[in-house]
Each structure stands twice: as structure tokens, then as C-alpha cells.
């Protein structure tokens, strides 16, 4: 036991948890923590807005598969984190948010910069701690990481009053902790795996729906083994995009509101769906009452509360999906051959649908369209390059036209749909993997929200590429107004402001504005080699829509293929 301040204990505990980066911004209520940071080996990344700190920690976590850490002061600093925390919660991403709080005697007195951040974040954190004495800090830090990273991951908040940060006391750093009411399931019930296996072996037209859980547990080899063993086509939810190589012959790509037409169609024709780490969100399945009504549904998930929440299922395998899939694969008889005749027909149907929709979905005639630009990016970006997206049309074009080849190299704000997420998250991802190029597929609307992170990317030497599909619009809202509100545009024009190249250059980043596919080609090649942040401004037609899509409130069968 050694004697130190609460703030020093926090930093020591974070070092013991092998934290490499902290994304944050100081203020009055976390000054003791920032003082302790001076003596720490952990690298601090100063952000320009706390929302971006949470997104950077989130992006880091999604690539590293380990909790990311962000710091903010009390009051407005803490509330600025909330969007980032809610984003991480919706996508089950582990982050630890450490906020300063006013001193204990001031709590409840409406003190300067006081907010009840534990109350504010209650619905969007897995748990929140507030130490009342410095000696509690080491154990709380250890519990925070354990809770954030285990089971279904998620954000944890640690709110430390200023006087508790300053308090000097004897500190004990536990090697082992137990949280009485928290027992994340690890090993699934073998009888349910048996049941799932029997159903799957009997199925004539099975389909796998892989979700974010596959990525969170790193179950890529197991998923691929299962699909190949039984020749099952794989669709992904949007969060599951990149759980399965999208150039694989069994890959159908994403389903849902902005999924591939052939993937949606194939799901409707299946007789058995294996949902793996997927939660049947409304964006994925359309209407709950229509989806998978007359077919067998097998659900793999680590979170028992997901079973039957949106969709009742015929078999439920609760546990870490990686180990559950391993057990399932072991149960498949070595000499098992799917009914080849039937299997051939099913795979032939897949090829038929892929070809049909490839021909029926037309691209726009301009030299540069979002679709062509994204295909070009795919062509030039190495397979292991990391891609994140903003929210809106750019996100859905990325879903449709950018194939993820190396599993786990793509992520987006899929649950909360947070504009401004992609750029800071890509900086966090770069911190986690500085050996590969990182690209944020952006729209001008979202980029405007967190563009000040250019300062961070440049000054902290975490260079990323902003692939800006610029239609001077809040494009997805404009598309909905075009489609559902008779072209009555309201609040969607951004009117060419600012000049994103000048903006980027003023931060010390490099910038290209491209007006032909040739220029785009050169700009992408240049920025992949570059060691400074790059913005590629790609003007596109404001009228370019995302197709296909499924209108809200309808089912997958009501997919709209084109204008």
C-alpha cells in the first residue's frame, strides 16, 4: 500500500490497465487529474470538443477491442461527452469516461459547473461510479474496465469529485475484483446449441445474419468456417458489415433499410435464419411483425435480454458468440453433406439475384458519383485499411458500394446514428492502428459537426483521410423530403460553405478538390502515402439518391429499387 492522491491513484490504475491514450480536455473540476497526468507515461490527446473525445475513445475501442478512455471536466464538459457515450452505448462499444465533479460539500448546491452527470447518463451507460473517498478509486477503475469490456461491452462513467481527487491516502490496487450482481454469461447451454444445430442441418434454404456481436467477439474465423462448412449465404446487419469478407462467394452484403436488394430478397426467401450477435433492429428487419414470420430463427447473443426483445426465436444460444460458434461447429458431423441438389439451387438463386439487381440498379450519368467514387476508393485502399463513416447518405452509400474485405476494418455509428462521429472516431482508430491508412467516408453535413478535430489529427500526428462526398446538402434528409414530402425542401441546404480545402489547409492538413475520376485516383493514392491529414473534397450531384432503400414503417419486401 502506498500513499498518494486520488488523482495519482487514478493515473496509476489506468497505467495498470495498460491504457495507451487518453482523449480529453481539462477544466476546473479535473485540474488535479491533469496535474497527475504530467507524471504519467500515458499519452494525452487534447481534443477541441469533448464529444470528439468520446468518439475518439470509441473508435480506438472498436479497432483495439479494448476500452478507450476519455476525460472531461464537470458540468458542460461532462454533458458534451453525453452524445459520445450514448453512441458507444447504442453500438456496445467499451469506453471509460472520467469526469471531474464539484467537491463533495458543493454537490447538490447548484455549484458552478455542477451537473448530475450520473443521472444524465443513467440510460446510456452500463454503470456509473462516484467515489466518495480517494481510497475507493483503484477498485472502481478496475471494476470500470471489467464491466465495460466483458459480456456485452458498453460505456462506464467514473465521476470523481474534485476534493476526492486531491485527498491523499493509502491506496491498495487489487489484482482481482468481483462484482456481485454482474455475471456475464460465457458458456452457452449445450442443449440449445444442439437444438440450433439440428434445425440448421435440416434447413433447405438457410441464411446467416451476422451482426456487430461477431465483430465485438472477433468471431471472424468461426463465422467463415460455419458458412463454408454448410454453404450458407451470409448477410450482415449494418453494424455487422465487415464481419464476413464481402468479396467471398457466400457474401450477400448488408440487409435492411439500406441493404443490398439481393440480400433483402434472399432473407425473405429463406427457411431458417441464424442471427449471430444481431439484435433485430428496426433498421435491419423493417417491420418486426412481418420479418421472419414463418421461418425458423436461431439467435446467438451474449446478452440474454436481446432474446425475444424484438423477435421471438426458435432456438436461443446465449453466450460469447465466438465460443458458441466453436461448439456448434464441433457438433456438425465430419461427413455431413448438405443435400447437394437443394444447396445448389439455393446458391444458384443467390447468383441469379445478384446479377438481376446489378443490372436493374442504374448509376447516375455524371463523371463522379458517390458510387463510382467509393468503388475507386475500394480499388486503391489496401484490404486492411480501416474505414469509418459519418451519418446519412455517405454512410448508406458506403454500406452499399464499399466492400469490406478484411473483417473488422469497418465501423460506423449504426445504432444512434450520430452525425460527426466518423471523423474523430477515425482518429481514435488511427491511434489504435497507426500502421494502416484510415479513411472517414464523410458527407459535408456530418463533417461540419466535428471538423475542428482536424487540429487534433494534424498536431497529434494521427493523420487520417476525410473522403468528403460533398453535395452541399443534408443529403439524406433532402432525399426523404424529395421522396416523402413532395420536394418541399426544409432546412437542408449548406450552400457551398465553407471551402473545405481552405479550411483543411488552415489547420495544416493537405486538401484536394477533384473534378474527374483521374484526379480522384491521384488524390487517393497521394493521401494513402501521405503522413499528414488529408481532405479529399469530392463534389457530387445534390440530387443523387441512395438506392435501394426500404421506407420507414414498411417491411423488407417493400424495398424501393430506384426512382
Amino acid at each position: 500500500m502506498s500513499e498518494m492522491s486520488g488523482a495519482a491513484a487514478l493515473m496509476t490504475a489506468l497505467e495498470k490497465e495498460k491504457v495507451e491514450y487518453i482523449f480529453g480536455l481539462p477544466g476546473g473540476a479535473n485540474l488535479p487529474i491533469y496535474d497527475a497526468l504530467v507524471d504519467s507515461k500515458i499519452r494525452h490527446i487534447l481534443v477541441r470538443h469533448e464529444q470528439s473525445a468520446a468518439h475518439m475513445a470509441d473508435g480506438y475501442a472498436r479497432i483495439k477491442r479494448k476500452a478507450g478512455v476519455c476525460f472531461a471536466t464537470s458540468g458542460p464538459g461532462a454533458t458534451n461527452l453525453v452524445t459520445g457515450i450514448a453512441t458507444a452505448y447504442a453500438d456496445s462499444s467499451p469506453i471509460i469516461a472520467v469526469t471531474g465533479q464539484v467537491a463533495l460539500p458543493m454537490i447538490g448546491k447548484d455549484a458552478f459547473q455542477e451537473t448530475d452527470i450520473i443521472g444524465v447518463t443513467n440510460p446510456c451507460t452500463k454503470y456509473a461510479f462516484q467515489p466518495r473517498h480517494a481510497s475507493e478509486i483503484p477498485e472502481m477503475v478496475k471494476k470500470s474496465f471489467y464491466i465495460a469490456e466483458s459480456g456485452r461491452p458498453g460505456p462506464v462513467l467514473l465521476d470523481i469529485p474534485k476534493d476526492v481527487q486531491q485527498q491523499v491516502t493509502k491506496m491498495e490496487f487489487p489484482d482481482y475484483i468481483k462484482v456481485r450482481g454482474y455475471n456475464p454469461v460465457v458458456d452457452a447451454d449445450l442443449s440449445e446449441i444442439n437444438k440450433a444445430c439440428e434445425m440448421l442441418l435440416k434447413a433447405e434454404k438457410p441464411i446467416i445474419m451476422a451482426g456487430g456481436g461477431v465483430i465485438l467477439s472477433g468471431a471472424f474465423p468461426e463465422l467463415q468456417a460455419l458458412a463454408e462448412l454448410l454453404s450458407i449465404p451470409v448477410v450482415t446487419t449494418f453494424k455487422g458489415k465487415g464481419a464476413f469478407p464481402e468479396n467471398h462467394q457466400l457474401a450477400l452484403g448488408p440487409i435492411g433499410m439500406h441493404g443490398h436488394a439481393e440480400a433483402n430478397k434472399m432473407v425473405l426467401e429463406a427457411d431458417c435464419i441464424v442471427a449471430i450477435g444481431a439484435r433485430f433492429s428496426d433498421r435491419t428487419v423493417g417491420r418486426f411483425d412481418e420479418f421472419g414470420k414463418d421461418i425458423n430463427v436461431i439467435h446467438f447473443d451474449v446478452d440474454p435480454a436481446e432474446i425475444g426483445k424484438n423477435k421471438s426465436v426458435n432456438a436461443a444460444v446465449i453466450g460469447d458468440v465466438k465460443s458458441s460458434l466453436r461448439s456448434l461447429i464441433k457438433l456438425i458431423p465430419k461427413n455431413f453433406r448438405t443435400n447437394e441438389e437443394i444447396s445448389k439451387l439455393w446458391l444458384a438463386r443467390k447468383r441469379e439475384l445478384v446479377n438481376y439487381y446489378e443490372d436493374s440498379i442504374k448509376d447516375y450519368s455524371r463523371e463522379i458519383t458517390a458510387k463510382k467514387a467509393l468503388k475507386k476508393l475500394r480499388e486503391l485502399l489496401p484490404a486492411e485499411g480501416i474505414v469509418t463513416t459519418e451519418v446519412g447518405q455517405c454512410q448508406m452509400w458506403a454500406s452499399l458500394h464499399f466492400d469490406v474485405i478484411s473483417p473488422g476494418t469497418f465501423f460506423s455509428s449504426t445504432g444512434l446514428g450520430t452525425m460527426g462521429f466518423g471523423f474523430p472516431a477515425s482518429i481514435g482508430a488511427k491511434a489504435a492502428r497507426n500502421d494502416v491508412p484510415v479513411v472517414d467516408i464523410a458527407g459535408d453535413g456530418s463533417f461540419s459537426m466535428t471538423e475542428n478535430s482536424l487540429a487534433v489529427s494534424v498536431l497529434e500526428d494521427l493523420p487520417v483521410i476525410v473522403f468528403l462526398l460533398n453535395n452541399q446538402m443534408l443529403g439524406m434528409v433532402a432525399q426523404w423530403q424529395r421522396t416523402f414530402y413532395n420536394r418541399r425542401y426544409s432546412g437542408v441546404h449548406q450552400k457551398n460553405c465553407p471551402d473545405y480545402c481552405k479550411l483543411a489547409e488552415s489547420y495544416g492538413a493537405q486538401a484536394f478538390r477533384v473534378s474527374s475520376m483521374d484526379e480522384l485516383d491521384k488524390a487517393i493514392k497521394n493521401s494513402i502515402k501521405s503522413d499528414v491529414a488529408t481532405v479529399i473534397d469530392i463534389p457530387i450531384d445534390p440530387d443523387e439518391d441512395v438506392y435501394p432503400f426500404v421506407a420507414p414503417g414498411t417491411g423488407l419486401k417493400d424495398m424501393i429499387i430506384g426512382a
Binding site: 450520473i118 443521472g119 443513467n122 452500463k126 464491466i147 450482481g181 454482474y182 432474446i307 426483445k309
Partner: protein, 163 residues
């Protein structure tokens, strides 16, 4: 009606986390009571809810996810002892009324807690049905104020738990 008997950590903020879950997930609470258990670091919450089986299942699973929740038992009328306490104040200006109410209270094994020239207050302990029945019986006299505690419950017989 379902009765959930929930063992939780006895610390500040836990009741808020639980009631906030009900609100944010659109679940219904009929009544909720909290008190310390035989172990000082644990509280028992008794929550009654009117919902269908599917909603109940989701409710239990979502509650189970809360880190401060240690154990949940779903009880029903057959496998539980459950009681509620109610204080019912009635208008009773003439002596005959007061005697009548006192007689009814005796039949319901209630106690007279307070009598004034104009009012009489009765304490009734029992199942919510019994309290409702008494309330209906005396409603004609003019009920002035009611305070009910909500249900407290324990499972019947011995149960295995290692808390």
C-alpha cells in the same frame, strides 16, 4: 398482477436506476416498496406490475442486466405471502357511523388508529384485493384520504439462495 421480489445492493442511487429503467423501457409499475433485508448490505424491492408474459420476461431480463440487481424472483399469488398496509381516513360525523365503521374494521381485522369528532382512520393490512374490498365497503361514508404502502412479499417455504 405479477410480484417481483428483487434483491439489490443497499446503496444510494439504486432505486433511481430501477425506476428509470421502467420509465425508459415503457414498463408499468403498480407499486414498489423497498426495505433492508436480513443482510445490511442488501435491500429487497417488491415490485408489482400488470403486464403480459412476454413483457414480464423482458422486464426481468432488463432488470437482471442492472449491475446493482443481485437476484430476482417472480412470485404469484399462490407461491408467495404478500401484504400491503393502508391507512384510510373517512368522514364520520355522527356516532352511529363511527360504530359501523369500527365494526367493519373488526371484520376486516383492521385497527382504528385515530378518531376525531369528524373523522375516523382505519389501518388495514392484507392483500391489495382485501384492501380494495374494504375501501369499496366504506366508500359510502366518504373517504377523505388514503395512504397505501404497496406490496411487500416473500416466497412461501424455503428457497435456495446463497446471498
Amino acid at each position: 398482477m405479477y410480484i417481483l421480489s428483487v434483491i439489490v445492493e443497499n446503496k444510494p442511487g439504486v432505486l433511481f436506476r430501477i425506476t428509470n429503467l421502467f420509465r425508459s423501457r415503457n414498463f408499468n409499475i403498480e407499486s414498489i416498496t423497498v426495505g433492508i433485508t436480513e443482510k445490511p448490505d442488501l435491500s429487497r424491492m417488491t415490485i408489482t406490475t400488470v403486464s403480459d408474459v412476454k413483457t414480464l420476461e423482458q422486464l426481468v431480463k432488463q432488470l437482471q442486466k442492472l449491475i446493482d440487481v443481485i437476484q430476482i424472483n417472480v412470485l404469484n399469488k399462490e407461491n408467495a405471502v404478500y401484504r400491503e398496509l393502508a391507512l384510510i381516513k373517512m368522514s364520520a360525523k355522527d356516532p352511529t357511523t363511527r360504530i359501523e365503521i369500527a365494526n367493519f374494521a373488526t371484520i376486516y381485522r383492521g385497527n382504528i388508529m385515530d378518531i376525531s369528532n369528524e373523522t375516523i382512520t382505519v389501518e388495514i393490512i392484507g392483500t391489495p384485493d382485501k384492501i380494495d374490498a374494504f375501501k369499496n365497503l366504506v366508500s359510502g361514508y366518504g373517504i377523505l384520504q388514503v395512504a397505501r404502502t404497496g406490496v411487500s412479499a416473500l416466497p412461501r417455504g424455503t428457497i435456495d439462495d446463497d446471498l
